[in-house]
């Protein structure tokens, strides 16, 4: 997946006067990539949280909070949308 991401970046950069001349499109791409990163981070945390919950149901709240923490990446990336 990482290889695919960097390839995507290369294509985007090479076609310099293509898609990225439009600021809205660039911002959308930035948010999308941030969301991808958040998803990747949540993957491991989520599965560990479910494992911990299976052992002790009291960990539900902690697990939930830790699982959604990477979501802040997307929220921060969303700022870009308002800046352009």
């Amino acid at each position: 997946m990482f290889e695919a991401t960097s390839e995507l970046g290369n294509v985007v950069l090479q076609e310099g006067q293509g898609t990225l001349t439009n600021p809205s499109a660039a911002a959308a791409l930035a948010v999308g990539l941030a969301a991808l990163g958040a998803g990747y981070a949540e993957r491991g945390i989520g599965s560990a949280a479910v494992g911990a919950m299976a052992e002790d149901e009291g960990l539900f709240v902690n697990g939930l909070i830790l699982t959604v923490l990477p979501e802040t990446l997307v929220i921060l990336a969303l700022v870009v949308v308002f800046l352009v």
Binding site: M1, F2, Y40, R43, G44, I45, G46, S47, A48, A49, V50, G51, A52, A54, E55, D56, L59
Partner: protein, 348 residues
Amino acid sequence: MSAVGSSNPEYVVARVRARRGKLYSDEEYRKLTRMGPAEIARFMEESTYEAEINALGSRHGGVDLIEYALNRNLAKQFEGILDWSEGRLYDLIARYLRKFDARNVKTVIRGIYVDASTEEIEVDLIRAGEFDDRRIRRLLEAESIEGVIEVLDDTIYGPALEEAYPAYEESGILVPLENAVDRTFYDHLLSELGRDEPTRQYESFLTAEIDFRNARNALRLARSGADIDPAEYFIEGGDLFTRDTLARLARNLDELVEYIAESQYADDLGPALRELEEADSLIAFEHATDAALLAYGDQLGTIHPVSVTPVISYILAKEREVQNIRAIARGKEAGLSDAEIEEELVIL
């Protein structure tokens, strides 16, 4: 599995860490050493062993109850770990847990050899390995050693056992068969391990375990002075000994102790070796190897948080706990004093 690999190790490690937190602490061991068998059983009933104590409580009592509950809980926990893990993680964990399969096969063969009843054999099995219930039932139903070998035909033990069977028939003793089982286990333990960093750590742990096992066997042979060929008991895969050095050193206790004292394990085993020289007691040495392995396993669990190592570290700690509680219960039964029992425990 997705292109980035599954997140299964995270799941297994989280569950295992939660279980690890529930193991008995030093404080609880101290309480346990002051209790009688019945109180220990009650204490266990209030912790992780509740289900097992309740299930077995009507059929067994006293120290037997504790022992069977410990075995059954150990089996349940390790089966659980194998159930959760998949792919590469499963392969790595199963390698180590197969030692229970090897143990069970040996128990069944010995049981048949001495004409024990099926029930007697059954309570001594620890169903923690890779064999499923069906295979274990078929093993128990086998009426002869030939039958056992037939049941194991499609497992890794099949070919080795078949090869060893004529030697057993000729001599009438079980050593060839048991050696075949052990050797198969150790052969598979280290073959085709991966090359990534956590696996290398795992490998060096396994190597240390084999080294300690060889050292113990050699010390026992050297001390008993029995006329047995040490090379027959040699386990391949260790770092410390080769077949020849072991055969040479097992004849002379002093040289052997010196050899171990100069090896890479000197820091861990030094004090125990000195004790061995002075008091001529193997017990301290065996405890020191256990403690060194446990400390090593503990350390393993923290370097690579999401890999096979924390799981192995838990498996070791759990095994140790079971052995400690058994030592306390058996010690109480035999009327040992608290101080003597505490000496028997291996606690970090």
